[in-house]
Symmetry: D2
Subunit: 372 residues, 4 copies
Amino acid sequence: MSEQQPVGIGLVGSGFMGRCHANAFRSVSGLFDLPVTPVPVMLADATYELAEQSAHQLGYKRFTGDWTELCHDPDVDIVAVTAPNALHEPIVMEALQAGKAVYCEKPLSTTLESARRMAKAARDANALTLVGFNFLRNPLIAFAKQMVESGELGEIVNFRGRHAENYMCDPSTPHSFRTAIDGGGALADIGSHIISMARYLLGDFAAVSAQCKTIHKDRPVAPGTSELKPVEVDDITNAVISFKSGASGTIEANWAASGRTMDLSFEITGTKGAISFSQERMNELLVTSNDPKRSGFTKIESGPQHYPYGNFCPAPGHHLGFNDLKVIEVAELLQAYAHNSFCQTDFDEAVEVQRIVDAMQQSSREQAVIAI
Amino acid sequence: MSEQQPVGIGLVGSGFMGRCHANAFRSVSGLFDLPVTPVPVMLADATYELAEQSAHQLGYKRFTGDWTELCHDPDVDIVAVTAPNALHEPIVMEALQAGKAVYCEKPLSTTLESARRMAKAARDANALTLVGFNFLRNPLIAFAKQMVESGELGEIVNFRGRHAENYMCDPSTPHSFRTAIDGGGALADIGSHIISMARYLLGDFAAVSAQCKTIHKDRPVAPGTSELKPVEVDDITNAVISFKSGASGTIEANWAASGRTMDLSFEITGTKGAISFSQERMNELLVTSNDPKRSGFTKIESGPQHYPYGNFCPAPGHHLGFNDLKVIEVAELLQAYAHNSFCQTDFDEAVEVQRIVDAMQQSSREQAVIAI
Amino acid sequence: MSEQQPVGIGLVGSGFMGRCHANAFRSVSGLFDLPVTPVPVMLADATYELAEQSAHQLGYKRFTGDWTELCHDPDVDIVAVTAPNALHEPIVMEALQAGKAVYCEKPLSTTLESARRMAKAARDANALTLVGFNFLRNPLIAFAKQMVESGELGEIVNFRGRHAENYMCDPSTPHSFRTAIDGGGALADIGSHIISMARYLLGDFAAVSAQCKTIHKDRPVAPGTSELKPVEVDDITNAVISFKSGASGTIEANWAASGRTMDLSFEITGTKGAISFSQERMNELLVTSNDPKRSGFTKIESGPQHYPYGNFCPAPGHHLGFNDLKVIEVAELLQAYAHNSFCQTDFDEAVEVQRIVDAMQQSSREQAVIAI
Amino acid sequence: MSEQQPVGIGLVGSGFMGRCHANAFRSVSGLFDLPVTPVPVMLADATYELAEQSAHQLGYKRFTGDWTELCHDPDVDIVAVTAPNALHEPIVMEALQAGKAVYCEKPLSTTLESARRMAKAARDANALTLVGFNFLRNPLIAFAKQMVESGELGEIVNFRGRHAENYMCDPSTPHSFRTAIDGGGALADIGSHIISMARYLLGDFAAVSAQCKTIHKDRPVAPGTSELKPVEVDDITNAVISFKSGASGTIEANWAASGRTMDLSFEITGTKGAISFSQERMNELLVTSNDPKRSGFTKIESGPQHYPYGNFCPAPGHHLGFNDLKVIEVAELLQAYAHNSFCQTDFDEAVEVQRIVDAMQQSSREQAVIAI
Ligand SMILES: NC(=O)C1=CN([C@@H]2O[C@H](COP(=O)(O)OP(=O)(O)OC[C@H]3O[C@@H](n4cnc5c(N)ncnc54)[C@H](O)[C@@H]3O)[C@@H](O)[C@H]2O)C=CC1
Ligand SMILES: NC(=O)C1=CN([C@@H]2O[C@H](COP(=O)(O)OP(=O)(O)OC[C@H]3O[C@@H](n4cnc5c(N)ncnc54)[C@H](O)[C@@H]3O)[C@@H](O)[C@H]2O)C=CC1
Ligand SMILES: NC(=O)C1=CN([C@@H]2O[C@H](COP(=O)(O)OP(=O)(O)OC[C@H]3O[C@@H](n4cnc5c(N)ncnc54)[C@H](O)[C@@H]3O)[C@@H](O)[C@H]2O)C=CC1
Ligand SMILES: NC(=O)C1=CN([C@@H]2O[C@H](COP(=O)(O)OP(=O)(O)OC[C@H]3O[C@@H](n4cnc5c(N)ncnc54)[C@H](O)[C@@H]3O)[C@@H](O)[C@H]2O)C=CC1
């Protein structure tokens, strides 16, 4: 490991995802056989003080309260963007301009136009990009995709998808970047995960018909305040969808889903079999074929036969965790960096996801079926 | 029991549901304390021979190949209609005209107009009617309804419903009354179950936006034939729905759902809690409240605290089966008969269900949101 | 049905099991094609008044407060014994003496000697006998047995069995016949179910090593009393067991199992596969083979391919309930009656079960391994 | 982090567990706020070449084919022992002699005498020790322990424990250190996990009665050979156990458990409630109280309220994985190292576990109940 080519990491933001990125960059070299080694170079946060404290804790020697500095630092090769959504575009644009590879959290941006600008800038800069749709990195999801593509499920006819969590159930949970007027909402925040999953597994969408609802019309402007501000984004979106392949289905994005902490789930129905999955049990995939004798679902547990599970553990049934998905994502990023190739969920893919988010919002506003 | 007032039963049809009705009428008096006793009087089937054989087996002393005879028999008080859908209207009309109470299998009819004619005739005749939406008779469903109505789940904001089975997965499964052009299809056949469930639990619908799809475009005209005929009904319908209460949600009706034998399931999301249920595990109800300390779902097992489970068994956890639901339905019918009252899922209710089926079909044809 | 040979039923007791027997005899002819028809003849209960009331409700025209009268009634062909355990022997002996077939609830008796006397009397009388180990009648259990016998699981090496319920959790639950000093206890009451299951599936036991524990040392003498009496039977028994086949395992009988209402469960481990079952989900059997590619458990749902499920319902996934198991048991009884054959769980089998209960109690007293 | 006191790590072995230790030491500082920072110093393996390759991959600058060198290296503060069981004693003794803290994989040793020698040497050296019973580090297990100790489950009356995996199902799986004659076997290998769990949750054992069985009497001497050697250790052990507290129960250790990859599971029954857990779903704890209205099990999902889950992720339901347990273990080790305190699963605790393993083996040999 020690002699690998070092790759300088610049980390912007050190909250939930910032820490998760830092941990992934730290762990990846011991778990994956990579041609390059990530080196923590600089951390940027909202203020110098925040940056200092996090840098200290996460092992970054240098830090800054100004992400433009980080974007232009010559030792930084990859800029990892984990700041709030509204900052994605300015940071990404700066990083691209400085010739960096960019690893940006989802959703890439808050509007389709913004996402398109970023994707164009990346293409123009010929830059490596990756957007953090980490749930796609589950080895069992790759296995599901293989099953779909192998034809063993027959023709795929239905996709029943959902991303439901409960973190906005409580009306006293205040506004945050997630409820910002242009581009927040359950659909953008977590709907983007299940949409990216649907695209990964079944390909391009053809049309959507959606209904976006705001459950709690007002929320406190900030934690601990009684002052309320109207909410203008959706808490729940339900949609009927269709794919170019001919399959149909539904998608639900719901961040007010009482009792659900991580129900990113789907059932794929084929004419010869089916797959059922929920991130609530991320190490299990339920599969079935229409064998008349034993038609029930079989619970496949993740194991070394599902690459790259074996990089984490040689024995089956030991379970990957959420943070391990981010390690796999980072391994994919570094492999693409080393080989000058590209990542599956790059900015262009993120634009496709955003197009669907956009179309669902439009469908709800216009009460119409929208072609993609 | 022996001294109770006898009520004469005339049973039309003796297939899947006919046998199930016969069993329910036979069992109910030993399990429920009823003011009346059902007496098997006459059985009608498609032919005299079929009727004879079934009557013999199911304990009906008289039988006929002509249901008009049965409808007018003076000893018959209640006509139970378990013939194919297209026969519901003529049989029901005849029975009502003869002044009988009518117990008809779902769906009441194959078109909204037909259902409305039947409901009107019943009102004109002042007749007791019941349509066999038996899944509503599960004691745990009554318990779920109580929870919804008690307000302990807060405001209900979402309903995620589905009825998925796999009996039409196979393209070589031939046409039957279920695929008849006017009114068959997955939506009418099993979608009606989940729609009636949604109405029972959350009340009137406000609007629907649906997509009906035919997976297998042709099926054999009859079992064992190679001659194919086009299928003109849906195999899968997906819909976004909204309720008058303001709740939204989705419904899926799918009879080509590989791996599913009885996924009549729903999740009801309230602002303070949630309920999750699948008929696949009909003796379990998952409930949760947004208690921060223990927010997970609790598996409530059916027991004597859930009326009328205790009529079947004094100990919890012993499980009701599908046929027991029909016994409960028949108990409700006989109680209403004795008390001159009415049943919750009468013809008027069945018309409401049919209106929604109809609106979904229209929505799919016109690619539009349809108000109910 | 009406022309079948009638078989007169005499029912002793009309509590939990009495009602269940009555329901089964009432339903069975419409569900099974039997050469004989059960006819309710007479009901006996502890008093004339109790008997009158129950007879009325359950459709028995004649009744008595004296079971000897019932045993000798010429119209009674089969005596069904659902009285408390301590009465099993006197009633059964009387019935056998009167030349009747005997259908007795489990456990056959409260001591091994008593059970042996009853079995001998039955053999001497050449009488048909059946003991109500109804859980063995689940179609999925027959399917499990087929799997075991077919060899597809390889050599069976382990049996992990349990019958756990919570009905005696509460120390204020009073004494009843179930806690009677000679022969009550969790082991006799519900341990007998899982022992009969183990024998049905894997054959004869070779040795046991058990520990019987009394959790609540005193209980009220009767409901609503504060007067306490010591409990001298076990609340929980744990045992290591071995089979003549060489397999080993454990058995737990526990009627103070908080949170469990019907965990009659087992896992059978073979060298090539395994089966896992719990009565908590009595319509599901989990099976697996050591196929390296898909080694997880497959959930097999009960359906018409599992005889005699199809007698209740032609479609899979509709669920049998507890009472349906008793109907199957009664069908087996009547078939044996008509064909002059015998039942699998006859008195001799019940003696074998009782031998193991006895050996476990002895093992616990003597702190020793006891050979069977 | 950078200014923390460095602690030198010497890693012996780099197989399954060696890699897992290395990963944990690498990750821990970014996830836990520790007063010390682990620094990878030296790696020892069976040969110089193996050590070189692994050191390179895992980020250890120095390496050796001789663990004595590592034990005496002045920069090494903690020796982590992940070599095969038979090497634990010599390596540990050398490390203790050299004044190091020792972090040894389970089982501490292969015989009770050996384990006692090691524990005595550690006490004499006043050394910090930790044995890798990592499953105890699951935040939900700490939560379960709190529930047990809080009294909310009432008196604990039963423990139904199991560790079942399938990695030795196949008779062609060859011998390894796990099947070595003195101290191998399923009981020592994985039984030690469930025994340590039982002790952690319910305290000292009082007596055991066990049966050890060898399923496959011969195995290949090495991978790819046809030469067979007898197996002299158990594949399956079943035991009845009792605790000093008065609770009873069973334990099964089974490495030939077809269909099971990680069924380290238990059910704890108290007089007022119960807990059920399986490592197969390590992020879920099922708990219940004997509340008559809602007596079912509630699925508690791991979240930040269960320390130290929040160190990995601020949001609930995101799942820890197996490797995260090792990170928590290493955090405990480093905290004890920094604060000069001790670890819960130190060598003395490992001796207690080994005593029970030993007693079970003796019980099986002598067919007797053995007091602990
Ligand atoms: N892939 C996934 O599963 C998840 C992705 N996300 C995404 O990650 C992003 C961040 O979300 P969280 O980490 O949950 O938010 P967070 O609020 O926990 O962290 C945001 C971080 O950005 C920093 N920040 C704010 N202003 C800044 C500025 N001007 N310059 C530099 N740093 C600044 C904050 O101080 C904080 O450290 C969002 O885009 C979100 O959608 C979040 C959670 C899960
Ligand atoms: N509530 C529920 O869960 C279910 C309801 N159903 C409903 O029950 C009805 C019957 O369905 P199945 O029993 O499955 O069909 P089936 O095909 O098993 O039985 C239909 C019966 O009607 C008889 N029949 C046909 N023509 C007749 C005539 N001219 N006169 C008298 N009898 C005639 C047939 O001979 C047969 O006995 C349908 O409306 C269906 O939608 C069916 C299954 C489940
Ligand atoms: N197979 C199974 O799953 C089950 C079997 N059982 C067994 O069934 C038997 C009865 O138990 P339960 O029905 O639960 O008890 P229960 O207390 O509900 O009913 C007992 C009945 O026997 C009657 N009885 C008492 N003394 C009598 C006498 N001298 N003559 C006639 N009748 C008399 C009682 O009045 C009552 O009707 C027991 O042997 C029990 O072990 C009970 C429950 C489940
Ligand atoms: N805590 C847990 O959950 C687990 C614990 N273990 C324990 O970890 C230990 C190792 O097991 P695994 O990693 O599975 O075995 P392994 O066979 O994968 O690794 C053993 C390592 O020790 C090395 N080794 C052998 N001889 C050596 C020598 N003379 N000097 C230095 N290194 C030597 C081998 O080359 C190899 O790198 C065992 O004690 C086992 O019981 C194993 C798996 C899981």
